[in-house]
Symmetry: C2
Subunit: 511 residues, 2 copies
């Protein structure tokens, strides 16, 4: 068995059964091994940012890592921004990055680069596997790292892949991170002491049993349950525990946190401003507030919340649940408000919403709190081009659920190649592209950073109207049926139709 | 004056008058400064790989650096693969990369990352400018580095940009790299000693006076003038000195170099295999050949060739020139051969051909040797997604010349966003996308690396036919008029029409 085959067999044995791939010459032995090994689904993407974003979406929904297959340093480079987003979301993944055969590196061939150097800033674990006999064990280690919500980047030289002597390695079960009892006790005291308190949850603590426990704790103590403005995945909607979302902009965030003397965090850190602004603070809490990190990201938030609930005597009856909101369907003009109302009414039960709608979606989260129960995924790293790939990976992980991908037009143009993979794999993704023909957020931020009013050249750097993008044509070009809507009635009709259809659809929402 | 304004003024004073930009919040003060400062053309792109590729194309045609404007670590990451290509082509550029305000870095905000760490593997010079008073001097240094054919990455924290106290710095004139007389003398002896010799030119030595001198030298000595398979920019066609192109695949390259006892290189290194293959050598020369590096990449090849010509007594009359080939226009089926014949007949005088046509273009270079004089640009780094952005930058640098952008379909999908910028700026680019609905090169390489015959899953990783891409729709979606051709007659008619039209056009060539 050659090294590549031992690698694929080790991945499959460790439960990695999906690979988002854009291979090149140096990865051909890995590709060849796919035919020899059952159990690995390989999904072709047209750009590596789609692969790494899809692995992020897959992790968030499956709670286990996918692999990516990337072609040398540049292939990795193309995937880095969505690796950044995944890492900030504490999504684990195993990147397999091809490399020239070891003896070829001395010659500085065109595609040679410092792959480890490129991988290191955004990976938690990096290794070049030197021999066909080591790649199996290295792959098992990479999967174990990924299972700990980490980015593992395993570099596969050509000779490591094609030489005989591959050894399949057994899966390594990573041990769960321990609960810091002292931190839990401090958090419990803070929540009990009578002052106004906030419990901020993130990571995997915003869903399932953990979310339920957080609801009990807040019901019992009177603390406010909150999430950061961006959370990797929130289970929400009717019948679930609902959390307050801390605002994006600094001034409303400061106002929202004012008065909270105690802030307890679970699988997240204390709230900070997304960007720096002149004369505004980076920390959003009140100056007199104390922060208690019950556990940070990549921790076992469920175990921490269990311990916290027990310490506080929080019982099931303490939790309160979101009621279903009957949002009337709006008519007429499409805007932030009416779009949010339509979403609230039409999100199907158990849908997965991937939100990169930026300015247009500003109202959508709040107004869908009482929609049918669903999952909502947000961009934790702030690098745009996150939404369409994450929706792709989420749909691969959950073939029986409907994915609704909300994207600004500027964002969609980053990794639009996702649509082709959605069509190829017949994924149930309904993409709404909000066409305001602008980097609208920058118009807001321009003033926010004190740059004054934009002149002609600055205004051009934020405008996408010349020429206008035609997303119906772009989707058609990648095999995804699409339509364009200009009114609420048209959006409602298009969503009602498309959400029932198997496979991907795109709706261009004109603003 | 704030730091951002001093930065833009310093760039303009140093002759950097073009910025390929995709800004975000942290770069708003730079954007604002564009309105205050005359002389900087800012060109918006929808993806950072377009910006860095365009800067590469701009350098190759203008022989001076453009700047890019990139949003934090992820924005840089998205541009890295075309920075890799540019660096391998010895193209200089100045990357301006926004960063959070210094005080904000402690808080690990969503977009925070190790920007210097990301920049370093593919940059020749990296600096974070700490204060508004330093950014001017740092920018002057960055431009000086870029003028030496280097990648300069200058990181601009928000507070450096927005605080007052900016100081415009004077341009720094980098000194030309010295000629190594000993190396020139050794090369001269090798070319004169009667054995079969080859002179391989690269960098800026494949055009203008340097190319002419290389022709004289080979005419005088009987050496074979050659280029690598990939060269950054070759001036060629009727009336110019013509060079032999070393083949891509190892076996024909070994055969072509067999018998050459002396290999002299100017602005390039000895030929090496593009990829490693089991049981094939990395070095392409005969085992008994000697290599004389008269000068390496980023050197003053013109001065070296002048010295070499003088040492050898090579005079103008020694040069031989390519004659115009009268290629008859083919009819019927489109294939490598007929496409090359059509190009040979129709490339307009003084056109710029950017070649990322991979398998379909295999015959094009050889068969256009006697076309009307033109420039031919190739991908030096091997990272696909090079062609459309480089064509964009070349067209910005040379508004009076026609750019012909040849792209495989797989390549085109990497940085297709280039089309939008071409439309926005009205650039005279005619793009031919060769639609074979496959990563055809991989089908060849699969066998080459000894992976055998692809099974079903492997075959799927090289196939782009499900769903087929519709480049006419994709171009339309970005505002570029497009047509589809299926025969030689249709391609001829489309090229005759489109090459006369101002602004961009795309032709989807069905194979």
């Amino acid at each position: 068995m050659n090294g590549a085959e031992s690698l694929v067999r080790t991945l499959v044995a460790a439960g990695v059964d999906t690979c988002f791939a854009n291979p090149g010459t140096s990865e051909m032995h890995f590709v060849s091994a796919l035919d020899k090994v059952d159990g690995m689904r390989s999904i072709l993407v047209l750009y590596e940012g789609v692969a790494t974003g899809a692995a992020d979406g897959y992790w968030r929904m499956a709670d286990r890592p996918a692999s990516t297959l990337l072609h040398l340093g540049p292939g990795l480079a193309n995937g880095l921004s969505n690796i950044h987003n995944a890492r900030k979301a504490a999504s684990g993944m195993v990147n397999i990055i091809g490399e020239h055969a070891s003896w070829h590196l001395a010659y500085d061939a065109p595609l040679a680069s410092d792959i480890e150097g490129l991988a290191r800033p955004l990976s938690d674990w990096v290794k070049t596997s030197p021999r066909s006999s080591t790649i199996g064990a290295d792959a098992a280690q990479a999967v174990a790292e990924a299972r700990l919500s980490r980015i593992a980047s395993l570099i596969l030289p050509g000779d490591t892949a094609w030489e005989e002597g591959g050894i399949i390695a057994s899966p390594i079960t990573p041990s769960a991170p321990p609960v810091d009892i002292t931190a839990v006790e401090a958090a419990a005291r803070a929540l009990m002491n009578g002052d106004q308190a906030m419990l901020i949850i993130g990571g995997k603590a915003t869903r399932g049993k953990a979310l339920e426990l957080a609801g009990r704790i807040c019901g019992k103590t009177g603390a406010t349950l909150a999430t950061q403005f961006f959370t990797a995945r929130v289970e929400r909607g009717a019948g679930r525990v609902s959390a307050f979302r801390i605002p994006y902009f600094v001034d409303p965030a400061l106002a929202a946190l004012k008065g909270f003397k105690h802030i307890v965090t679970v699988e997240t850190r204390e709230p900070v401003a997304f960007f720096a602004y002149p004369d505004k603070p980076s920390l959003l809490k009140s100056p007199d507030a104390e922060v208690y990190q019950a556990c940070g990201p990549r921790s076992d938030g469920l175990a921490v919340l269990e311990a916290l609930a027990e310490a506080l005597g929080a019982r099931p009856s303490h939790a309160r649940y979101q009621e279903r909101t009957d949002t009337p369907l709006p008519s007429g003009a499409l805007n932030q408000q009416t779009i949010a109302q339509i979403l609230s009414a039409l999100i199907p039960e158990n849908a997965i919403v991937v939100d990169e709608s930026v300015t247009t979606g500003r109202e959508s989260f709040a107004l869908t709190a009482g929609a049918a129960p669903h999952d909502w995924l947000q961009n934790m790293g702030g690098s745009i081009g996150f939404g369409l790939p994450v929706a792709t990976g989420a749909a691969v992980a959950c073939p029986d659920r409907r994915v609704i991908s909300l994207s600004g037009d500027g964002c969609a143009m980053y990794t639009l190649q996702s649509l082709w993979t959605q069509a190829r794999e017949g994924l149930n993704v309904t993409t709404l592209v909000f066409s305001n023909r602008a980097y609208q957020i920058l118009r807001v931020e321009f003033a926010g950073v004190g740059a004054g009013a934009p002149g002609k050249k600055a205004a051009e750097m934020m405008s996408l109207d010349n020429p206008p993008l035609d997303f119906v044509a772009l989707a058609k070009g990648m095999g995804v049926p699409a339509s364009r809507v200009t009114t609420c009635e048209e959006l409602v009709a298009a969503m009602r139709r498309d959400l029932r259809e198997p496979g991907p659809r795109l709706i261009e929402v004109m603003l």
